[in-house]
């Protein structure tokens, strides 16, 4: 039976059983309905026989956030009880191994970027404007590489919202020990004409745009992260700078799944 329907529970009793206790056969339909309704309330009232217990202080906040933004309703980051340690540790070990391999690839890729940029800087004959752009890119790449290898860096995997597979997009959000400086590296996001991959941080108070992965660029970083960030998502937008994300989420990562690698 559908357990949330109190009347389903009451239907377990037929008229003859009711006759014995409530003189059911002599009652009018209205009286029967009234008694069924009262019994339903008695059944429901049994919950009130329990001593009230207050849930944790942040439950209300989570519920209100979930009402405003449905995706926040699933975000309940909190420490696991000790009984979860073993299975959790096993899961994290697998995840860490995967992340370590991915990070190795990321570092290697960034080192290649750095070498390329350095070669460009070293080449004489670059126009000054171009040289300035290259220098900026070089500084950003160095900063990101430094972040990826920093002691205390935490990593949040971004998973595809569509079907997973070898070709599915993926991402890693690196967060420095200061919990401010972040760097997002993605893979498998194919550039599409007239569309932009936009990065969003989901916070307690709403969604904050973090920038676009434009022109085939697969990474993005910044020295600041919004307060109370709970999750990060990448959406595919049809406008370059929408104020709010569309429903076209391609990658999603929960802050509660963040792990420390170094």
């Amino acid at each position: 039976m559908e357990r949330s329907d109190v009347f389903a529970w009451l239907r377990e009793f037929d008229g003859s059983e009711r006759d014995e206790i409530d003189d059911w056969g002599r009652l009018s339909p209205a009286e029967r309905t009234q008694i069924e309704r009262l019994d339903g309330e008695v059944f429901g009232l049994l919950a009130a026989a329990l001593e009230p217990e207050e849930p944790s202080a942040d439950l209300k906040q989570r519920i209100m956030a979930g009402a405003r933004r449905p995706e926040l309703a699933v975000l309940t980051p909190r420490p696991r009880a000790p009984r979860w340690l073993l299975p959790l540790a096993a899961g994290l070990t697998t995840l860490a191994l995967g992340l370590a391999l991915w990070m190795a690839g990321t570092v290697q890729s960034q080192r290649a970027d750095l070498a390329r940029l350095q070669r460009q800087v070293d080449e004489l004959g670059l126009a000054s404007a171009t040289l300035e752009t290259v220098r900026r890119d070089l500084a950003a790449a160095k900063q990101n590489l430094q972040l990826v290898g920093t002691l205390g860096v935490e990593v949040c995997p971004l998973r595809p919202t569509a079907a997973e597979g070898e070709d599915a997009p993926q991402g890693l959000l690196f967060l420095a020990a200061d919990h401010q400086h972040w760097y997002l590296r993605t893979a498998g996001l194919e550039a599409q004409e007239g569309s932009w991959y936009r990065v969003w941080f989901i916070t307690e108070s709403g969604v904050v745009a973090a920038g676009n992965l434009n022109d085939g660029e697969l990474d993005l970083g910044s020295p600041t992260m919004p307060a109370d960030t709970r999750a990060v998502q990448v959406t595919l937008e049809t406008e370059p700078q929408p104020a709010n994300p569309s429903d076209a989420t391609v990658l999603f990562g929960l802050g509660s799944e963040m792990i420390r690698l170094l």
Binding site: I21, V42, L45, E53, E54, P55, M64, A67, R68, T76
Partner: protein, 196 residues
């Protein structure tokens, strides 16, 4: 000031709250939480025995109430009973969906002392009064009647399952349940009146 409201005022306020939920009023959800979260949390805890999981149940129920408030039928039950039955249903679903390892852990944890004490345990005087009244009424029931009622409500068993569990004929189980319901119905008239 919950305890200063009459029963009729409380029932009217619940109905008004539902009307505001239908209109998408977030403050109404906040009030619904303030009014019922401690009772629903206690109920969910009774089933799942894990404070964090009990909070998840309460969160699911209140967000379902927020999103599907149009499903509430005032002709069928009070707001309180609607929320209670949803909580009971979600909690039972969670228990039944646990794998064997989780069930073993939950059983072991039943005896653990509850550590999730409320910092504001004495805040809701009305709920405490109602809890005390119900506890005393339940205590007045013959043990065999109280047992079948508690099995039906807190374990989610059908009458047939209770009969199998207690090795009592099905007819006897039903009779005991109905007798218990009739006594409670008579004893709790005042409480029930304000819910309808």
């Amino acid at each position: 000031m919950e305890q200063e409201l009459s029963a009729i005022e409380r029932a009217a306020r619940d109905r008004a709250l539902v009307a505001r939920l239908v209109g998408g009023d977030e403050d109404a959800l906040s009030e619904l939480y303030d009014r019922y979260s401690s009772m629903l949390f206690a109920l969910a805890s009774r089933f799942v025995h894990r404070p964090q999981e009990a909070e998840d149940v309460v969160q699911e129920v209140l967000l379902q109430a927020w999103r599907q408030v149009e499903r509430y039928d005032p002709e069928r039950s009070s707001v309180a009973t609607w929320l209670v039955m949803m909580t009971r249903s979600r909690a039972i679903d969670r228990i039944r969906n646990r794998n064997v390892v989780d069930r073993t852990l939950a059983a072991a944890q039943k005896e653990e002392k509850r550590t999730h004490e409320s910092p504001e345990g004495g805040r809701n005087v009305l709920q405490q009064e109602r809890a005390a009244r119900l506890q005393s009424e339940l205590a007045l029931l013959p043990p065999e009647q109280r047992r079948v009622l508690e099995l039906a409500f807190f374990s989610g068993m059908t009458q047939r399952e209770i009969a199998a569990e207690t090795e009592i004929p099905l007819g006897t189980v039903k009779t005991r349940t109905l007798l218990a319901m009739r006594k409670l119905r008579a004893a709790l008239q005042d409480d029930l009146g304000d819910l309808l």
